[in-house]
Symmetry: D2
Subunit: 334 residues, 4 copies
């Protein structure tokens, strides 16, 4: 923590700040400047709250130096986290591809798409059973019935299942059926849910909130790790900006930054970022080119008749072409 004093601060005010620091069992370091004085603080283990100093007379600004996250930080854990699910890895040398429909709609649909994807070599199937919808009048998902269908698909195809949990009430149920529990963008700040998924023994796919800063995103992951679950996969899915030509603005620069600050794997969801089918393949290629550990893409056997997100779902043939392109791009980068 660095405390900046007003140009006209008095010796007495500086003394008061120093005393406050000493009272907290920390050490003050007064740095006299030409126009104003600053006071450095050392001795704190984690981040120090500015609240202790902001109100003191003569204080202009409190600058936090230590990062508030610990367990997710690469400084603490320098090697990449690689998550193992049987013979498949997330965060390792191979890129991870998660594909499937927005929602599980019925047996025919989910088996149809899963078989096509498995044949292409896709190892992870996504499919929502519980859906967060802006409108109370929209389709809210099949619930447990959807989870059961996903489990049957796994039995047949061997694919790993990724599906979203909306609340603590159904967490146990969802965890039982799936291989990776997804926490959606709307729940990134739902700390009650984060604490709970911090206690399950399955990997958690944590999506960035619509307006979450990188620090808040990492702090939400910190909630999960600090409650005992170290298997967290981050997912960038676009942020909300003034720019309206796409549903969200995919913030790809978060990838190199996360790689620098954290050891956790991070993937990109181009489907929710764009909101439009034709933009999904370009964004997916960019995701791999920028260094993401993988992509999560909506693919539907019959997008025109999808119950949700049909306009942003790829046709299977489009997805197949995309798969070839991203594999080639991944080969260039490594």
């Amino acid at each position: 923590m660095l405390i900046i004093m007003h140009v006209n601060s008095t010796a007495e005010q500086i003394e008061q700040v120093k005393q406050k620091i000493i009272d907290l069992n920390l050490t003050p370091h007064v740095i006299p400047g030409r126009t104003r004085c600053a006071i450095g603080i050392t001795g704190n283990k984690g981040a120090l709250s500015a609240d202790y100093f902001k109100h003191l007379p003569g204080v202009v600004q409190c600058i936090t130096v230590t990062k508030p996250y610990k367990l997710v930080s690469r400084e603490v854990h320098p090697e990449d986290t690689v998550i193992e699910l049987g013979d498949v890895q997330i965060g390792g040398p191979e890129i991870t591809v998660i594909a499937g429909p927005c929602s599980v709609e019925n047996e025919l649909q989910i088996f149809d798409i899963a078989r096509q994807l498995a044949k292409m070599g896709v190892k992870f199937l996504r499919g929502g059973a519980f859906k967060p919808r802006t409108s109370p009048y929209s389709f809210q998902g099949l619930g447990e019935k959807g989870l059961k269908l996903l489990a049957r698909v796994r039995e047949e195809t061997g694919m790993k299942i990724v599906s979203e949990v909306l609340d603590t009430e159904y967490l146990e149920l969802v965890t039982e059926y799936v291989d990776v529990v997804q926490v959606g963008a709307r729940n990134m700040y739902n700390y009650s849910l984060l604490k709970r998924v911090g206690k399950i023994n399955k990997p958690v796919l944590l999506k960035r909130g619509l307006s979450a800063t990188l620090e808040e995103f990492l702090m939400s992951a910190e909630y999960i790790l600090s409650h005992g679950n170290f298997q967290v996969i981050l997912c960038e899915r676009g942020i909300r900006t003034f720019s309206t030509h796409s549903r969200n603005t995919l913030d790809i620069n978060v990838i190199p930054m996360v790689k620098q600050l954290s050891h956790l794997p991070i993937i990109i969801d181009p489907s929710h970022a764009s909101g439009e089918r034709n933009s999904v393949p370009p964004l997916a290629r960019a995701a791999i080119a920028v260094g993401a550990d993988g992509i999560m893409v909506e693919v539907h056997p019959d997008p025109e008749n999808a119950l949700s997100d049909g306009h942003q779902s790829l046709y299977p043939f489009q997805f197949k072409q995309l798969l070839e392109q991203v594999q080639k791009i991944a080969g260039i980068i490594n």
Copy 2:
């Protein structure tokens, strides 16, 4: 719904769109233009999903005309909703003032501030017992112990209690103790929680999410009303923008817009919008001047030693001056 066709769309493509509309038991209206053709749709009761048409060949854009909300809409319910709590009203001719500390910290603190506020004529006491914190290492609130203190304060002072609920797990507990259940900004998209507060029989104070559009905000209220609870108070508390001189950007223009679109009362929280004590009184005055039904302000008996949000909490004497100013401004507007 209005469907815009490509300038070079064919008669066959137009026919296909028409047929799709007819299949949905709706009526197409072809509007031939000089450069392109548009197709209007009538006959739908609520909002129609663009998903039905977006993918059809020749379609360029689908424009939604009907608003997706119903119960919160002023078109459906022209008179203002006024919420009655005993002899106090929210949304009526008097402005509502909710004040108190960020968190309930201990008996001494909460009784001290409540007595001071009651003496000033404040009818609503705020105080968090369950706190949503960005860091898992920060003070998370006193929990039930805090609620019990609030209940004792009510007994003594007669003030109505406003406190936040973080999850469905503690909803019953919180509802039992408080007079108005607050759903915070981070939970505005937590539809599981919204459905549940839609079934309680106490008023709900719903804060706007950090990056929620006005339509999403109203849709979250619609979740509550559509589950049976019509006692909803909206609260603007600042949105997230590029502008970093304050913690959030208070979007005061939402007040006249809500007044036009909805019958629900709406108040402003200047404390979280600004994040700094000195900006709170100016923003609170602006809140009343722009036509809000009230304000919710953080006041602490000893801000320098507050466990949370001390730097944005007013001193009691500051709040008293503010109270006089906003009452005068309210008098000018009505």
Copy 3:
């Protein structure tokens, strides 16, 4: 400047940073922390560029402490700047009201509205002669003809004229005719123009850019002051955010911040912030309530037939009511 070193930085790296600071004739202050070391710098007169240090091995972050602006700063010039135009002041105890149409359209229109406004006691008339328009196909203003009409209005009514300059080419012309030269939001980053208006001897009304931070806004004013013109009036007119219910988001919190950081007067333009007539009076009231030195409002004698911005222009009778309200609010605050 404070330089934060990596947790694993070596003694040699720290030495290298110290040497660089000494080479710049400044003084390094090493602050050893528990987990990492920081190096404070003193001796610099103005802001120091992070560019000198960012690239050195072991450096994690460079934190700027000194503000980059000087002349606009309240630290340098503690008393409020009050601009005098004959018997009228801007930034003094009276609030400033600037009103008039978006564009000067013809003799009838501008004389009609000016006479009505003068009768209400308004001292400043706004009216665009050169208009910045998003489309090359829109009405671009009457040019010099418009300026001449404004000058004739001044002769008759005694009102001061405020009108926009778009480029250096017409600066001399505009300056000759008007009393206050307006630099619009789209030109806030036009440093060539700012340098030039820094050399005229008339007050400049500088609007905040659509996505300008407060610091950039003040730096643009610094351009004008540093070229010799100290008569600058700042104007907040809304920023661009994700929020689409209004044309822009009025960032009222900038007012208390500017009052703290700078001595320059600042007014609010509620018309461009909202983009809709019905929201203008509430925003204008909020502007005065939050402590702005004045407002600039679009008023048109016949909004329905205005050549530009008709839907956000007030009717004269509406404006008259508003004027009474804001005067009363101003009375409460002072």
Copy 4:
């Protein structure tokens, strides 16, 4: 244009809107709906202003259907625009690479970097002679001296020169020396300058403004085309959002959208988008993967001692590696 009427609008109000449309020599199409009525308008050649209707009683919303741009539109000009500069193309099958320092600093620096880049096969050299700087106290560029150095570099290396023009005053000078005239992000709304570059006979590189919507960006290009210059290259360089981990947020989704809406070539500037050296190569790879026609990258022979933007400039060896990667990615996409 589609006009949405209030649910309770009267027959008389509908009649009034119809009459207004007829008065404008256009054709109204009344579409009676179940809850409300809408009125379509046909017969207009370009975009119709909502201003004609917004104020009429009973009107709730005016929805613009026709796009406001014409000349830049792919609907009007279906084939890609390819710009020829001697034997080099922009917008053709080969990707365009523009590289060089932020500013021309001196003879040694610019010749050094240019020779290295030319040896790598780079055809376009960037280098600022006139620099837009936030602070009036920062280095503002060498001016004409810088342009002369660039011209001498061209003579020796054969590279095409790209350099920025800041104002109409120096446009003739800059145009004389360079091959591609750059209009920077801060000048995207400077319509006086856009009109002027619309009359030169050299290609213009137009950067997107920090908070410009895609439509505004295309409209600024329309200004240039409508004044006679069809050689426009668009450039995405990041937008301003709440996200602070990078200097700007690169909005890569604008590439597929521009490719759909317009025939103009578009490149990406990853250096200004990121603001940090280590993020530039990942973003540059993403730029090509998403389908941009090229990249513009800051490279400096000695970044640590650069006069501006050193921390975001690549070392020549880094750039060489990047060049190989982007060429391979380009090969995969086509």
